[in-house]
Amino acid sequence: MKAFEIHTFRGGKWKIDSVFDDRDLALFEARRMDSSNRFPGVRVVEEIFDEASSQTTSRTIFRGGSGAEQQMQPQNKQAPSRMPAKQRAAGEERAPKGGKRPGAKKNSTFSGVLLMFLAVGVLGFAAMFGLQYFAGIHLN
């Protein structure tokens, strides 16, 4: 099943303007809207629903207002993600390569500092005891 959605760029984001099941109608309307200069961006997205797999694939088949479109890209286009759609939809983040989570490095740094303080403390006490010991021998 196919649907052709006209999207317009309004208020800083893309919104669905209208939906057609006919490609020619959608393209005609999109071109008409684009030539009216009413919107900084107009595009037609073809959505194909595969009933067998229950998956929807979409692709843009028309982009109007080319200058505005380029300005919109940084804030609207996301880098392609290899994360499964289900995981993306749930807002889950995958750990970076190597299996380490972002917080892991911070924890190891903290442990190192703690160990260093302990070592300095132990050495300090040892030095104090040593000095007292040698001072006692000398006085006696």
Binding site: S18, D22, L25, E29
Partner: protein, 165 residues
Amino acid sequence: MRTIPDDMPREIVTVGLPSGSERRLVLRLLAYWRSLQEGEEFPPRSAINVTDIADLWKDAFILDTRESPDDPVFRFFGDALSHRCGETLIGRHISEVPPNCLASVAVEYAGVVLERRAPMSRGGEFTEADGIRTLYRSILLPLSDDGETITGILGAANCRELVGD
């Protein structure tokens, strides 16, 4: 409720349309609907002036979604549609539309329009009660009295019979 001033420029599409009377109908009605928007997301029902779309009116209908959004009521039903369905449906719910008539296929996605809050056009083929295969095209356009809540739908549909196919 606001009214559209008479001197407001309205863009009515009449040239350069794709071939086929079915397509011309939906695009012209969509252009008319856009001309009534006046900065709002959806135009109010009160803005519709039948004299603006006199030649389209016979194929048009208006649904009232205020009382029962799941089963809207026809408040207007064009003559050509009445002729196709064998009766006028004014005051009737869409659940009461006789099956296998143009109006039944034209309103079957009204719920999707309410859900998506956007104009939608669908077409295809259906078999009329007398067994004649017919190609149709329809459009449903949301209306709102306050610019936010959808309180009605302006729609239109026309068709042609498939002869010898």
